[in-house]
Subunit: 99 residues, 2 copies
């Protein structure tokens, strides 16, 4: 860690971001999307959840810019937004698995 002085706002933003990863449903969604881009309905079916629950979480993920969307007719295709997502999950997995 090079720079260690951050504003309160940066810290709040960081906490808000990392909070997003602290939910099993969202992790599952992100892992699914790591495999391949998917529609909401596909995610709901694969995760065994209601369309509404998945959609709510996708909206959280999108607000935090962790996923991005692309309309395709009636459907909306969701995808991982950038590399940081996988990076954070991967590092977390390392920590969890080293026990």
């Amino acid at each position: 860690m090079k720079d260690l002085k951050f504003t309160d706002e940066t810290i709040e933003d960081l906490a808000s971001l990392l909070k997003i990863f602290g939910d099993a449903t969202r992790i599952r969604i992100l892992l699914c999307l790591s495999k391949r881009d998917s529609y909401v309905g596909e995610l709901a079916e694969q995760l065994g959840m209601t369309q509404s629950a998945v959609s709510h979480q996708l909206s959280v993920l999108k607000q935090s810019k962790l996923v991005k969307t692309q309309r395709q007719g009636k459907n909306i295709l969701y995808a991982i937004a950038d590399d940081h997502v996988s990076s954070i999950i991967e590092t977390g997995l390392e920590h969890v698995m080293e026990d």
Copy 2:
């Protein structure tokens, strides 16, 4: 991301771990400890929080093995447990700052 098939338990563990990072107080504590190992009282003063609040959060951090302790007389010295901690925070910061 090499392996993409995880058990429910692994995912729950991962979510529980990442949830720890989703709180500004805990981030602040971790950032403080990144600078140098500290006693509970030092952290409380530096963060302007009560001893109790800090201690509660330290206990959360310790349970997740994100910090480790070492008694020194009346005091207890806290330190970052391993590299994953800084790694996750760093990646999160990158994401937050790229906007």
